[in-house]
């Protein structure tokens, strides 16, 4: 059951990443592409959290209760890092959406195929 959970999390993470990549590469709508990027990020974040997770582990705080089970503590570093990564992902998404708005005003379309003024 726990193995299933673990693999499930990893599987979901990889699935999300692939889904994100798919959306970015295949969808022609700018908004969908941005969503794809977001999904890709989510998958990564999930993966990051998952590797720090220990099934049945305790919070990484040295309370009297947890002293005996020190080696069952979940790794706090990925959790800290993933917060940072989420913030960054948020920032990127925000910039991307702002750009989409600008592109829409400039080209009157959000189809990426029609936005090809710069080439060669």
């Amino acid at each position: 059951m726990q193995d299933f959970l673990t693999y499930g999390i990893y599987g979901t993470a990889i699935f999300l990443m692939l889904l994100g990549v798919y959306a970015v590469l295949v969808k022609r709508n700018l908004i969908k592409i941005v969503i794809g990027l977001s999904i890709l990020d989510s998958g990564l974040h999930l993966l990051f959290v998952a590797i720090g997770f220990i099934s049945g582990g305790t919070a990484p705080i040295f309370s009297p209760m947890a002293i005996e089970s020190a080696n069952k503590m979940v790794d706090p570093v990925p959790q800290a890092l993933v917060l940072t990564a989420i913030v960054i992902g948020f920032g990127v998404t925000a910039v991307a959406l702002a750009l989409v708005i600008r592109l829409y005003r400039h080209h009157n379309t959000i189809n990426i195929d029609e936005i090809k003024n710069l080439k060669w």
Partner: protein, 498 residues
């Protein structure tokens, strides 16, 4: 007594960037002046720090008192310090060039200066940090501010360029993040020195996978083919000085990160071969595409990619001479390409299309700017007695000593192509009659001074290369001496682990 600590490279511009809107509320011109003081201080601090720095005594700053490997540390070694100083001095020059940028109003200049500060912070951060996740964060700071800077001008296709940049950049950051995650599962640390020590514990297959992820991720910033689709668009649509920022800082930070990864963390022989192959491909494709460009900025952008390819080739030799040549190239490329972009921005200022064919007879209309452009072109194609010649010579010597005759021949053939397209521009500038009246934009005093300073650096390094070779030699030693780096950051750790 000057407080000189690498931490200020990060803290000062970051803080200023966030406080700048407040300053703007107080008194509008402050938004231009305050970043100037920050950059001036950073540039000054770089000089102070670089005087004392030797390969065997890097300055290591522990952030918030956490000792490595638990805390984040900044490493100001001869190599990272050299690049950081280069970036901060270029930052100051670019500020000085653009602090009275007239084309935009208050709001846009506020954005411009905030983003400029951020991009400098990010680039210097990438160079100085000793922590792989921290490096990722700085990369993102650089990235996000670069996207925004690309789209700064509303009139152009900046948003399109920025979106492409963002799309590729997001992939890059995802890959780097994934690599960091995998790395962390394998070695359980994020400190680059410790990763380096523990690297041999990692299974070779996973190591290669991680390496490829890093390679692709940083390759995007380092303008490696085929990951460089964003480069010509971003360079041509961003404001003029920002193109110089991209060429002089962002790309340099990218290649720095790539080199750090290859040289410090991974001991893969194949990495150097891969870098060599990609460098050659990047260089050849970029230069031949540059030959067919009609727009000046795009041509310069492709030329910039080509130079990055050459830098990769030089780094891939994994010899002292190769690294020396590569760092020399980085220096030259930062200076010369910045000069080219800065002058170009005046040359094409009033044309809508920004084509090379619009430049007929500008040599007469804008003598100073054209002369400096010509100087930059001469220098970048490696004609003596300008600085570009020496770096090219060192690359060739390094290649020759590696018995890579084919690579030498390729580099030189590509240089011929380079000469053709740069001289086409020069002959248009000077030896064509001005066809129609394109109004000229007189360069302001401050930008003229900046361009002249860059020109003087090019000439003086060209005539007397020993001005700079000492610093580069130290940087080379520092990069190649991986054990020293580890020992300085984590004293005694290598013995404990091995």
């Amino acid at each position: 007594m000057v407080i000189a600590d690498p931490i200020y490279y990060i803290v000062l511009p970051l803080l200023t960037a966030f406080l700048l809107p407040l300053f703007g509320k107080l008194y509008k011109p402050l938004i231009g002046i305050i970043p100037g003081f920050v950059f001036l201080f950073l540039a000054y601090m770089s000089v102070i720090l670089m005087i004392d720095i030797r390969p065997d005594n890097p300055i290591i700053t522990k952030i918030a008192g956490w000792t490595p490997p638990f805390g984040i540390n900044l490493v100001f070694s001869s190599f990272s310090g050299f690049i950081a100083s280069l970036i901060s001095i270029m930052g100051f020059l670019i500020w000085a060039y653009s602090y009275k940028f007239k084309k935009v109003g208050f709001d846009d200049s506020l954005k411009y200066f905030i983003l400029l500060l951020l991009v400098v912070t990010g680039s210097i951060g990438i160079v100085l940090t000793g922590d792989i996740f921290n490096l990722f964060v700085f990369l993102e700071i650089t990235g996000i501010s670069a996207y925004a800077l690309t789209a700064l001008y509303r009139g152009r296709d900046g948003a399109e360029a920025a979106f492409k940049f963002l799309l590729i950049g997001a992939f890059a950051s995802s890959m780097i993040l994934l690599a960091i995650i995998l790395l962390y599962t394998q070695v359980g640390t994020l400190n680059m020195a410790e990763i380096s020590v523990r690297m041999h514990e990692v299974d070779l297959k996973i190591k290669v996978l991680i390496f490829i992820l890093f390679f692709v991720g940083f390759g995007i910033e380092a303008e490696m083919f085929p990951l460089n689709g964003w480069v010509p668009d971003a360079y041509s649509q961003a404001p003029g000085p920002i193109a110089a920022v991209f060429a002089g800082m962002v790309a340099k930070a990218g290649i720095y990160a790539l080199v750090r990864i290859i040289y410090l963390m991974f001991d893969l022989e194949g990495a150097f071969h891969l870098l060599l192959i990609m460098g050659v491909i990047t260089m050849i494709i970029a230069e031949v595409v540059a030959l067919r460009q009609e727009a000046l900025r795009r041509m310069l952008a492709y030329s910039s990619i080509g130079q990055m390819g050459l830098i990769m080739i030089a780094f891939s030799f994994n010899t002292e001479q190769g690294v020396f040549a590569a760092i020399f190239l980085m220096f030259n490329h930062a200076i010369i390409k910045s000069l080219l972009f800065l002058t170009t921005s005046f040359l094409v200022y009033n044309t809508k299309t920004k084509l090379i064919s619009d430049l007929d007879g500008f040599g007469k209309k804008m003598p100073l700017v054209s002369l400096l452009f010509g100087l930059g072109a001469f220098a970048i194609v490696g004609l003596p007695p300008f600085s570009g010649f020496w770096s090219k010579l060192y690359v060739l010597i390094a290649a020759a000593n590696q018995h890579m005759e084919v690579i030498i021949a390729l580099i030189l053939s590509v240089s011929v192509v380079e000469i053709i397209y740069y001289f086409k521009v020069i002959s248009r500038l000077y030896f064509r009659k001005a066809s129609e009246e394109i109004p000229i934009q007189k360069p302001s005093l401050n930008s003229s001074i900046v361009m002249i300073v860059l020109g003087l650096i090019i000439i003086s390094v060209g005539v007397y290369p020993d001005l700079i070779t000492g610093l580069i030699e130290n940087a080379t030693t520092s990069l190649l001496n991986k054990d020293l780096y580890i020992e300085k950051i984590l004293p005694g750790l290598a013995e404990i682990i091995n």
